[in-house]
């Protein structure tokens, strides 16, 4: 039967050569290579649960009176969008669990993209020839964040309405075109009625279509270029060592899909998320307190809170304060992210192809820069809760905000410097893993530093026939082959 089917297709499409190659394709095994798969599988869960939700959601801001199972809001006049979310949560069987799985999956989707990005960054997997996939990955992150925001804005509840209000003000803050941009996006002055219906189309069609397209290319490029692998005996720049697609890698990967969806389902069943019935319907003159966005926008929210009170007024025109933390900062963030492979190629003089991964210590400067950057965004993320922290500590909001303004200046360089020292000490100690490094190596770091790296520079070009890593000597230079003693 299978033979006949295969034959039927092969005589029409000539598929058997490809299938043969595909089934024996080798994928390297490492736990960190599964993080991207977690993102992919969360996205599939998003598509499945999201499709279910579209059958019940009503993207309209027309008002009607809610009459349903949720008593406290019975008889209250609300928008159709809000009413339909209440109904699908309380009156549609399995509706609430679907909605909560969908929301949790969104959080995990973006979270695993970010962790995947960190993995790719700290192991140098973005280097030639993988710059294309790095760029596609960053674009996917931007789209995912945008779709997260457009998704949680749909229920037209008080919390997300406040978020939309801020988004409108941010659009308004863009120089020259901001006013028109905000009016065209929202359909008029806030709160314009069109925005929910528009976000719905964007959320369920335009952005998912773009994500599916880019994701397909992302995976096709991985397939074509073959996956990177860590340095271990028998692994070279010219081969891939691991499991074959059929059957073991396929079984493990499908198993991972079920594992991801299992965890998301349990979260969706047991952990309440976005209880819009507690926030109440959106009313322009009301606001929730506290008001925080979903986690992936926490850094923008924190930046909005931390930035000092200033704006720019030039020749009778104004660049208002939110432009700097909420437009300029994300713009610079994603531009630098997109440009990173090329920046590193330029500054490290390394334009060679790499298929063997670095360990973070092999490039102390890159690792330190990464740690610095992560710290910068983490401080902003935490600062997005400055009101809650002030409340918990019983401190004044002035004091807490001041502390965060100081932390954002000193923490990133401090963590970067510490990371640099740690990486140097790790290399010098020769330990296979951080946990095996004697503590003394860190304190002796200063003397071991220069010595250790000089030894490596001398040997950097004696690798496995992969010469021309470019001049070493700066921290981003070529990794030392002898730094990778076989582990385990």
């Amino acid at each position: 039967m299978l033979r006949q089917t295969a034959g039927w297709f092969d005589t029409r499409l000539g598929t058997s050569a490809f299938v043969q190659k595909a089934l024996t394709k080798v994928f390297p095994d490492h736990w960190s290579f599964m993080i991207g798969e977690i993102a992919l599988y969360s996205f599939i869960v998003l598509l499945l649960t999201g499709t279910f939700l579209t059958f019940f959601f009503d993207a309209s801001t027309s008002h009607s009176v809610y009459r349903g199972a949720y008593e406290p809001l019975n008889g209250v006049e609300v928008s159709d969008a809000y009413r339909s979310v209440l109904e699908l949560s309380f009156d549609v069987r399995a509706g609430l669990v679907m909605r909560q799985i969908h929301h949790w999956a969104a959080l995990v989707f973006i979270g695993s993209i970010v962790v995947h990005l960190c993995r790719v960054f700290f192991t140098g997997a973005f280097r030639r020839p993988r710059e294309i996939n790095w760029i596609i990955g960053v674009l996917l992150l931007i789209l995912a964040i945008f779709n997260g925001f457009s998704g949680y804005s749909l229920p037209d509840d008080l919390l997300s309405g406040t978020g939309l209000r801020i988004a409108y003000s941010i659009a308004l803050s863009v120089p020259l075109v901001g006013t028109w941009m905000a009016f065209l996006l929202f359909g008029g002055e806030f709160p314009a009625d069109e925005i929910i219906g528009r976000l719905f189309v964007v959320h369920i069609m335009i952005v998912p279509a773009l994500i599916i397209g880019l994701l397909t290319v992302h995976l096709a490029v991985v397939w074509r270029q073959k996956h990177t692998q860590f340095r271990e005996p028998g692994r070279t720049e010219g081969n891939v060592v691991g499991s074959r697609l059929w059957p073991s890698y396929a079984a493990k990967s499908v198993g991972l899909f079920f594992a991801v969806s299992a965890v998301l389902c349990v979260m969706g069943g047991l952990a309440q998320i976005n209880p819009v019935w507690l926030y109440g319907p959106f009313e322009p003159q009301q606001v929730t307190s506290p008001a925080q966005p979903d986690w992936y926008l926490g850094w923008v929210e924190g930046a909005l809170r931390l930035v000092p009170a200033f704006d720019v007024r030039l020749f009778g025109y104004e660049i208002p304060n939110p432009f700097f933390p909420a437009v300029l900062l994300p713009g610079v963030t994603f531009t630098l992210l997109l440009a990173w492979p090329f920046l590193e190629q330029h500054f490290a003089h390394d334009k060679e192809a790499h298929h063997l991964l670095d360990r973070p210590r092999d490039h102390p400067v890159r690792t330190a820069l990464g740690a610095t950057t992560l710290t910068f965004y983490t401080v902003m993320f935490v600062a997005a809760s400055n009101d809650l922290i002030a409340k918990w500590l019983g401190a004044s909001i002035f004091g807490i905000t001041l502390v965060f303004r100081i932390l954002i200046l000193i923490m990133p360089p401090l963590v970067g410097w510490g990371t640099y020292r740690l990486m140097k000490a790790l290399t010098a100690s020769g330990a296979g893993h951080l946990s095996e490094m004697p503590l003394a190596a860190l304190t002796n770091g200063a003397s071991a530093d220069g010595h250790g790296s000089r030894v490596h520079e001398g040997k950097a070009h004696t690798g496995d026939g992969h010469a021309g890593d470019g001049p070493a000597g700066n921290g981003l230079g070529a990794p030392a082959e002898d730094a990778h003693a076989p582990r385990g």
Binding site: G238, G242, V254, F258, P320
Partner: protein, 286 residues
Amino acid sequence: MSRGPRTSPPGSGVALAFGLSALSSIGLTVVYAFGGQPQLEGLLLGVALGGLAVGLVRWAQDLMPGGGYVEQRDTEMGGTLQSDAAVRLFERGEEEVQRRSFLGKALGAALGALGLAALFPIRSLGSAPGTSLVVTPWADGIRAVTIDGEPVRPEELAIGGVLTVFPDGHPDAADAQTLLIHLSPGTYRPVTSDREGWAPEDFVAFSKVCTHAGCPVGLYQPADHRLFCPCHQSIFDVLEAAAPIAGPATRPLPQLPLRIDTEGYIAAGGDYSEPIGPGYWSRPRA
């Protein structure tokens, strides 16, 4: 991966996991049939999917050929020779096109014009900003009413009290939402001479829309007469014409002139002192 001496035949754990998954799916059907229960649904779905996960992964790890397969890769894709050949092929076609350069230009012009024409529907997406960011429905003599449309008499709001009001007839005008505050007698300080008469019977009114990012400035502390925005923690001092004293806001909340009309209700004496809400490129100076 070695797991020590086996006490059960290989694959029994896998079978157990798949069995548990099947049972859980049956349980899910039962729960659904009896009206559904979110926590149980999530849990049973989790066990049904988790059983499949555990079974598949253990099957793969214990009973399938593992890693150690080697596949060769091209360290560089393609090569200069192939790409040169591709470029030559393209250029040969390009020469054909360039021989008819006028046609090429005409084609470019037509496509450009079409592209421009295709941009125009974007204009249909929203109304022109016009003066909508500058003016609100407030005007001299328009009464301040609650969200339910009730006009307000001075004696109805105690000292230290605050009330969100709208212009009469526009209870849904988000840009006209206003905080009506009853100050302690004699504490009103007009920041400019023209604002002297704006606080009849110690009532002042400020736009409720934060000048930072537009959130409703929802919290008022009468003790230190401060308004607090819960979104980004801007704080405004009501006695200093709602000037920002902390947080990211750079401008005071616009003040609404008040008067008591002939029937004793609180009414506006005109529109706000300046455009309300967050800043934008062409915002007129006050």
